[in-house]
């Protein structure tokens, strides 16, 4: 975590967030502090609530209790316009969720043009600039189904970045990809870290987590069981639950 986090208001702060689906309590009591320009990585078994937490942050899910403070404002308040909130928080999904009926370029320019009122020519210029930065410029005219999984996911990242969000959420963005493509996508995230993008990342890639995280949070049973620097949590876990999880990840050959 960056040294100044106590002094300045964090960009995102969760306080005692609770969320259940029917009888299933997914998030029991989760608190999180994400200062600007830092990277928080969420780890934990499938079903530990990582994805739900991310969806609660950008208001795709309604929380049952707690506070989601973005820039000090509780964005879970129904009186706050959720559309407006989402314009400042980008999310990238595990299954890419590109719009299959649109070209890559249209996928990226849609929100710029329709939500932010950017002129088509300007939106396309911005999109092409981002695409060429991630070596995708030649794919601008293609439809998503003509792209590899790694390319699709990078386009999805560009689509979220195009509206200049202040916070980016990544929901297991490499889980649907083979190891080679995983790397090409993770390189993009490393790049964004270099730009100082504030990010919350749910992932199963422990090596990647070690490289990019300022803070790692291990989620289990709807709470943050352990948190700290990646060296601390991933390489020297204190809690027996964390140890057990990491041991199993290690056995699976993913560490």
């Amino acid at each position: 975590m960056s040294a100044s986090s106590d002094a300045v208001q964090p960009l995102l702060e969760l306080r005692h967030v609770r969320k259940s689906f029917g009888n299933e309590l997914v998030l029991q009591d989760v608190s999180l502090v994400v200062p600007e320009h830092t990277v928080t990585v969420l780890i934990g078994a499938s079903g530990s609530g990582k994805s739900t937490l991310l969806r609660c942050i950008n208001q795709l899910e309604q929380i049952d209790d707690g506070l989601v403070l973005f820039d000090g404002v509780d964005i879970a308040d129904p009186r706050i316009d959720a559309d407006e909130t989402r314009q400042r928080i980008g999310i990238v999904f595990q299954a890419f969720n590109l719009f299959p009926h649109m070209t890559v370029l249209d996928n990226i320019t849609l929100a710029m043009r329709r939500v932010h009122g950017v002129r088509r020519a300007d939106a396309e210029a911005t999109a092409l600039e981002l695409l060429s930065r991630f070596s995708l410029a030649d794919k601008a005219g293609e439809h998503p189904d003509r792209l590899s999984g790694g390319q699709q996911q990078r386009v999805a990242i560009v689509r979220a970045l195009a509206v200049a969000p202040r916070l980016m959420l990544f929901d297991e963005i490499t889980s649907a990809l083979d190891p080679v493509l995983v790397n090409e996508v993770l390189a993009v995230v490393r790049d964004l870290r270099g730009d100082g993008m504030t990010m919350v990342i749910a992932t199963h890639e422990m090596g990647f987590a070690t490289q990019v995280a300022d803070e790692v949070c291990f989620l289990a049973g709807g709470v943050v069981v352990e948190r700290g620097t990646p060296d601390r949590v991933i390489h020297d876990p204190q809690d027996p639950l964390t140890r057990e999880f990491l041991r199993r990840v290690h056995e699976a050959g993913r560490l």
């Binding site: 950008n58 299954a95 969720n97």
Partner: protein
């Protein structure tokens, strides 16, 4: 090289590769099997179709049937007369399609919307669809065609039967088509909606730019199917006294006691509907191929 049919063309990257002995043998076996299949299909077609034709042509009543249903000279004679009226079928169908498209789209959007202000319209749309999907078109035609003029409302009572008949068809088909469009809208995966909303698009923008284009594309085959039915059902306006193609054929038949006009008008319908159904089949095949190709996305 390992999958699909290898037709012997040389794919790039296989320079210096010549098929092995056993591969050549397999190819010879495959082509002889193919020849045998074609031969069987040809013989079977000739026997079955030829048999059916022979049964009809050798039947004792065939000369009479040929005279009363397939009278070439009379058919040629009545074709321009019937076609003149068949154009009314085409025109009414074309006009109906435009209105149906607009009304059914509005109905489908209302039924799938969640905006609180639209709640009464949502209920009305549901009632409308339930009502007119369940009443036979013929009854709607009678109710509109004879009921509306009987109301004696200014400006309505003097309406042509063509307009009333088309209105009845529009009313019924809008209910059918609205349900088809609604099923298309509902078939778009929620993750698409989530992706659009996560970019800050409003519910209306999400519908307009993300959900509707995908949903409509998926229901193109059933929509084309409904247009074929519509075209055929337009002929029903004749019950209100509109003299269109079918009614004209009937008039001619009544005069000549020869059924050839019916065959002529049937052929006219086929000339329009067969290409439409072919387009439907092709678009269905395409949409299945696309959905299979898409996988996760």
């Amino acid at each position: 090289m390992t999958q699909g049919t290898n037709d012997g063309a040389t794919p790039p990257g296989s320079v210096g590769w010549t098929p092995s002995q056993h591969e050549l043998m397999r190819r010879r076996a495959r082509s002889s099997q193919a020849r045998r299949r074609i031969a069987v299909a040809a013989v079977s077609s000739v026997v079955v179709i030829g048999g059916l034709v022979a049964i009809v042509l050798t039947s004792s009543g065939w000369p009479v049937v040929q005279e009363t249903f397939f009278n070439w000279g009379y058919g040629v004679e009545v074709t321009p007369i019937i076609f003149e009226k068949f154009k009314i079928d085409l025109l009414l169908a074309a006009i109906a399609v435009v209105f149906i498209a607009v009304i059914s789209l509005v109905l489908a959007l209302l039924r799938t919307s969640r905006a609180p202000a639209l709640a009464p319209f949502r209920i009305l749309a549901a009632v409308y669809v339930d009502l007119f999907r369940g009443i036979p078109l013929l009854l709607v035609l009678y109710l509109i065609g004879f009921g509306v003029p009987a109301l004696g409302l200014a400006g309505v009572s003097g309406l042509d039967v063509e307009i009333l008949g088309t209105a009845a068809i529009v009313i019924t088909y809008s209910a059918y088509v609205a349900e088809v469009i609604r099923s298309g809208i509902l078939s778009v995966h929620p993750s698409q909606r989530a992706a659009a909303r996560s970019l800050g698009l409003s519910p209306a923008q999400t519908m307009r730019h993300v959900v509707l284009p995908q949903g409509l594309r998926r229901v193109i085959p059933p929509l084309l199917n409904d247009s074929v039915s519509l075209l055929k059902d337009v002929g029903l306006v004749s019950v209100l006294g509109v003299v269109e193609g079918i009614r004209q054929a009937e008039i001619l038949k009544a005069k000549s006691f020869n059924f050839t006009p019916f065959v002529v008008v049937a052929i006219m319908f086929l000339i329009v509907t067969i290409p439409l159904t072919r387009v439907t089949d092709r678009s269905l095949a395409r949409s299945i191929a696309r959905q299979n190709a898409q996988g996760v996305a």
